[in-house]
């Protein structure tokens, strides 16, 4: 916010000191500080000062990626990040682990508003943003920020920050074409400053479509971003933004190691539909062979996030931030399945067990349907923060409150003759039971009220050489669950269940400046994740008592930074003590439920370095070592309900590679620009017993661009070529389902982990111009 310099004010402020001191003052001049200079770090590193491990990918780097890229791809090269994308474009999402923690154990915010699923904390990065509208994506690898509105962040947090409307009027158009029928059209209109230069706004729309790189099917995504910023003057600002996404994507098939070995990486769902089996009375028709048709696997989802901010500078030393938000999500993930007419229904809920579903008069058939896990969430919330400077203390107190209404159902939708569900949005063509009630595999409404109070003091000592940051956050979540009678054993009656989880999470950090260029930092933080909402509805609430505690972790970072114009260096050594890890365990009664299954201790280091090697060249490198070890043996039961304990203590945790490295080289001079980036990862285990693993890999991406001279009204035109997986590396990238053991042990049958292979080489060309 630019300080408004009124002559009278200036005169008064300049006169007063000289009136008081009545001595000379020599002008040193003007120093200009740019936010996030690109030079040393290729856009993947800033001159970080936070007293904790933290890394940032800026717009300078994000703009060199494929425009469709998801936030996971944007941060892939940062230290500690084990991120994968289901395809090269990022439109289908992906997976992420950091220091052994999964994405649903980390907090995600967009412009300060939380976007993790309110029930199970899942994150779907492809639904949130258009990359060219982002300013930066930051990650704190271990310590969740004190003022972050999360109850499910046991492994740190990630923030996505959108950029503000431009100062000048601008109309931007970008068109991307690429492999697999990729087409993306992006338009954005910026108003420039108006209303006496106080207000500016923009709105953008993008439409992206691409075919799956293996198998048949596609992604089809519409996205709208809009933002308005109004400067009130004297440091205060109002802003509002909305992010809207509508996508209808097919799913990729997750495959086993055996399937990968037998079929290669192109293995996916069936591309040909065998055809519906004609119903004939008196004989049994079986459509089970049709369930793997690609067009029966769909992920339609619509969501938007609206954020409002009032950042008010009350006086020179006090600021009040009032930031309400609203999240809306509606959609599902559904797969092909069959219903057995003879016993599809729970008689108590649906009147009778059997019903003729294909109209042939008998109840002998297995009929094809699309079963979809539907979720509808409305989630208003507010963040309040008061900051005040008191001497060398910067005090902050804040409050977060939100109320999420989360409705989860699982209806069965009829399938057409072509093998496609008749209603992707599950509003019609739903299977009903013999008594007319809609068949639901689950039917719950969870009202999750989250709130958090936090206090923080940042103290500046030793003439600003030492910065201490101490604080505490007190998150709490009240889950109010209502189960409506549905088809799942144990949930066949209406019931209510409520549970509150809370914790006290202190955090302390320090940063000491050793010299002009070097500093050291340390941070210790306690994090917590309340159990997901589905534990409320796990079978047999009454009776079997489970002391389900929240997962907690204590994270210690100790680090060193060196920063100068030519070289930025940051290194962190860390220890994480992760307790009460939740996992599915088979109960003696044969049902799987979540229990606190033990502890994991992780230690390692994360290094990153950014250098400006010559006038136009930037270099970035990251290296991380993660040693995530399980500290407990895993106890469960065999299918014969015999307890069995597996010797997992001392074994490496799943999906945590020991070594990872990233490298980016960037060139930018005159009309040409380009870069190469590479990611290396060590092997990863897919089972707690470490008896199945996937190999390490190296992937290389490259981009090359050319800026055209201004032509008439067209300005800043540029063409960019992106190639992902340049060397066409064939590898298993995502571990989509981990298991306890892949080899039978003492009567416990072997589990089969699932994977998603890394995408084949992919090329795209983007043309962007401003008018």
């Amino acid at each position: 916010m630019q300080f408004v310099r009124k002559p009278l004010f200036i005169a008064v402020t300049l006169a007063l000191p000289s009136l008081v001191l009545a001595q000379g003052s020599t002008a040193i001049g003007q120093i200009t500080v740019e936010g996030q200079p690109v030079a040393a770090g290729a856009g993947l590193m800033i001159q970080e000062e936070a007293p904790k491990a933290r890394s940032t990918a800026t717009q300078a780097h994000l703009s060199t990626q494929m425009p469709t890229a998801s936030p996971y791809q944007g941060i892939r090269l940062l230290p500690g990040v084990n991120a994968h994308s289901t395809d090269a474009t990022g439109l289908f999402g992906g997976s992420l682990t950091v220091r052994g923690f999964n994405s649903d154990q980390m907090g995600f915010t967009i412009d300060g508003a939380p976007v993790n699923d309110s029930g199970n904390y899942a994150v779907y990065p492809q639904e949130y943003v258009d990359l060219e509208n982002l300013e930066e994506i930051f990650i704190t690898q271990g310590a969740t920020d004190l003022d972050a509105p999360h109850v499910g962040a046991v492994g740190g947090n990630i923030g996505i920050i959108s950029s503000n409307p431009t100062d000048q009027r601008r109309f931007r158009l970008a068109q991307t074409l690429g492999d697999k029928g990729l087409s993306r059209t992006f338009v954005r209109a910026d108003s420039g400053r108006f209303n006496e230069n106080a207000t500016r706004l923009y709105a953008s729309y993008s439409k992206s479509m691409v075919d799956k790189w293996r198998g048949e099917g596609e992604a089809d995504r519409d996205h709208v971003d809009a933002k308005i910023v109004h400067d009130l003057g004297r440091g205060s600002r109002l802003s509002a933004g909305v992010v809207y996404n509508f996508a209808e994507n097919n799913f990729y098939r997750n495959i086993t190691k055996a399937q990968y070995a037998a079929n290669g990486r192109s293995y996916d769902y069936d591309t040909v539909f065998g055809g519906r089996v004609t119903p004939v009375a008196g004989t049994a028709q079986n459509e089970s062979s049709l369930t793997n048709y690609y067009n029966l696997q769909w992920n339609p989802f619509e969501n938007y996030i609206a954020t409002f901010k009032a950042n008010l500078q009350l006086d020179d030393k006090t600021r009040l931030d009032i930031e309400p938000y609203y999240w809306y999500g509606d959609g599902s993930g559904g797969f092909g399945t069959t219903l057995n007419e003879a016993n599809a229904f729970n008689a108590g809920v649906y009147g009778a067990a059997a019903k003729d579903l294909n109209g042939d008069g008998d109840t002998l058939d297995r009929v094809l349907f699309w079963r979809t896990s539907y979720t509808h969430t409305t989630r208003p919330g507010i963040n309040l923060k008061l900051t005040h400077l008191l001497g060398n203390h910067k005090l902050a107190a804040g409050l977060w409150y939100e109320r999420a209404e989360h409705r989860q159902t699982q209806p069965f939708v009829a399938v057409g003759a072509d093998g496609k569900p008749l209603d992707l949005w599950a509003g019609s063509h739903l299977v009903t039971g013999p008594n007319g009630k809609v068949l639901q595999g689950r039917d719950q409404l969870t009202i999750s009220t989250g709130y958090q109070l936090y206090l923080e003091d940042q103290i500046s000592l030793l003439a600003d050489r030492l910065n201490l940051s101490v604080g505490v956050r007190l998150p709490a979540i009240e889950r109010d669950g209502k189960n409506y009678a549905n088809n799942t054993a144990g949930n066949t009656t209406d019931y209510s269940v409520a549970k509150t989880y809370r914790d006290t999470l202190p955090q302390a950090g320090m940063r000491y400046r050793l010299s002009d260029t070097s500093s050291v930092f340390a941070n210790v933080a306690k994090n917590f994740r309340a159990p997901q909402n589905f534990v409320l509805y796990e079978a047999n609430q009454a009776g079997r008592s489970r002391n389900l505690e929240a997962e907690t972790s204590t994270n210690l970072d100790v680090g060193f930074r060196h920063q100068s114009d030519k070289l930025n260096l940051s290194g962190t050594i860390y220890w994480v003590d992760f307790q009460n890890r939740m996992a599915q365990v088979r109960d003696p009664d044969g049902t799987s439920r979540n229990y606190n299954a033990g502890d994991v201790r992780t230690k390692g280091f994360e290094l990153e370095a950014g250098a400006k090697v010559a006038a136009s060249w930037g270099l970035y490198g990251s290296l991380s070592y993660t040693d995530a070890k399980q500290k407990s043996n895993f106890t469960t039961a065999t299918s014969a309900n015999v307890p069995v304990t597996l010797p997992t203590s001392g074994k490496i945790f799943v999906d945590s590679p020991k070594w990872m490295a990233g490298l980016a080289l960037r060139y930018d001079a005159g009309p040409w620009f380009g870069g190469v980036q590479a990611k290396f990862s060590d092997k990863r285990y897919a089972t707690l017993m470490n008896d199945e693993e996937i190999d390490g890999y190296v992937t290389v991406d490259a981009n090359l661009g050319y800026r055209l001279a201004h032509v008439g009204m067209m300005k800043n035109a540029r063409i960019q070529l992106n190639v992902l997986n340049l060397l066409d590396e064939k590898y298993l990238a995502q571990i989509t389902s981990t298991r306890v053991n892949a080899v039978a042990y003492n009567g416990l049958a072997a589990g089969v982990p699932n994977y998603a292979p890394g995408a084949a080489r992919f090329t795209s060309l983007t043309f962007t111009a401003d008018f």
Binding site: A50, T56, G159
Partner: protein, 225 residues
């Protein structure tokens, strides 16, 4: 009436400035204390909004698209800022090393910038050289604030920080003279000044003064800030 309203700041400033000018004259008296710097007229001009945009409570008209990263700023007397942040001010108006009362009240209404040409004065050259060294040192250690708060707010603005150095280059005290209206930026500016290592005064410069007060303008710029 409309004209008066639009220029209300100018009309209101006039009488107020006259009163302040009067106070300055009353306060300033020949003494052993150094006089208020006669270059203050330049400073006022530096900070004043351009004459052609009298009343907007907002940043003035944006610069043309040829400078995509430059934010709208009031015109400064100095040449345009180089990307590295180095700013070369014209050599300050020659100031006597001895103490004399100011020739005229240092506060004048905003006027077009008119830096005085440097005279061939060794004291002025020494001062310019020293000031340049300090500025280069600060440029090397300047930092934009980081952290969740800075990422969410991305403040921009200008802070004037005053600092008191002794002859050995020791920083005795510092503070914010003119706030940027952002807690983050004020703190970042103070931190930059605090952790700097300042050169000692050359023996011939400001001879007889055990300490001297300085001020520096730190301008934080963010694209689309």
């Amino acid at each position: 009436m409309n004209t008066i309203y639009r220029h209300r700041d100018g009309f209101a400033s006039g009488p107020a400035l006259l009163m302040l000018a009067g106070l300055q004259v009353l306060v300033a008296r020949p003494s052993h204390m150094p006089s208020p710097p006669s270059q203050e007229p330049i400073e006022i001009v530096l900070m004043a909004p351009p004459a052609e945009a009298p009343s907007p409570p907002r940043p003035p008209e944006p610069k043309p698209i040829a400078q995509p990263t430059a934010r709208p700023r009031p015109a400064i007397a100095a040449p345009t800022t180089a990307p590295a942040g180095e700013v070369n001010l014209p050599a300050p108006a020659p100031r006597q090393a001895t103490e004399t009362p100011p020739a005229e009240p240092p506060l004048t209404p905003p006027s077009p910038p008119a830096p005085q040409p440097p005279r061939a004065n060794p004291a002025a050259e020494l001062e310019a050289a020293y000031v340049t060294r300090v500025r280069q040192m600060l440029n090397a250690i300047k930092r934009y604030p980081t952290g969740r708060e800075a990422s969410l707010l991305r403040p921009s603005g200008s802070v004037r920080v005053w600092l008191l150095l002794d002859r050995n280059g020791q920083l005795l005290d510092r503070g914010v003279e003119t706030s940027s209206q952002s807690l983050l930026l004020d703190n970042a500016a103070l931190r930059t000044v605090s952790v700097g290592s300042y050169p000692p005064f050359p023996a011939e410069l400001w001879a007889g003064q055990a300490q001297r007060r300085f001020h520096v303008d730190i301008d934080f710029v963010v694209p689309n800030g």
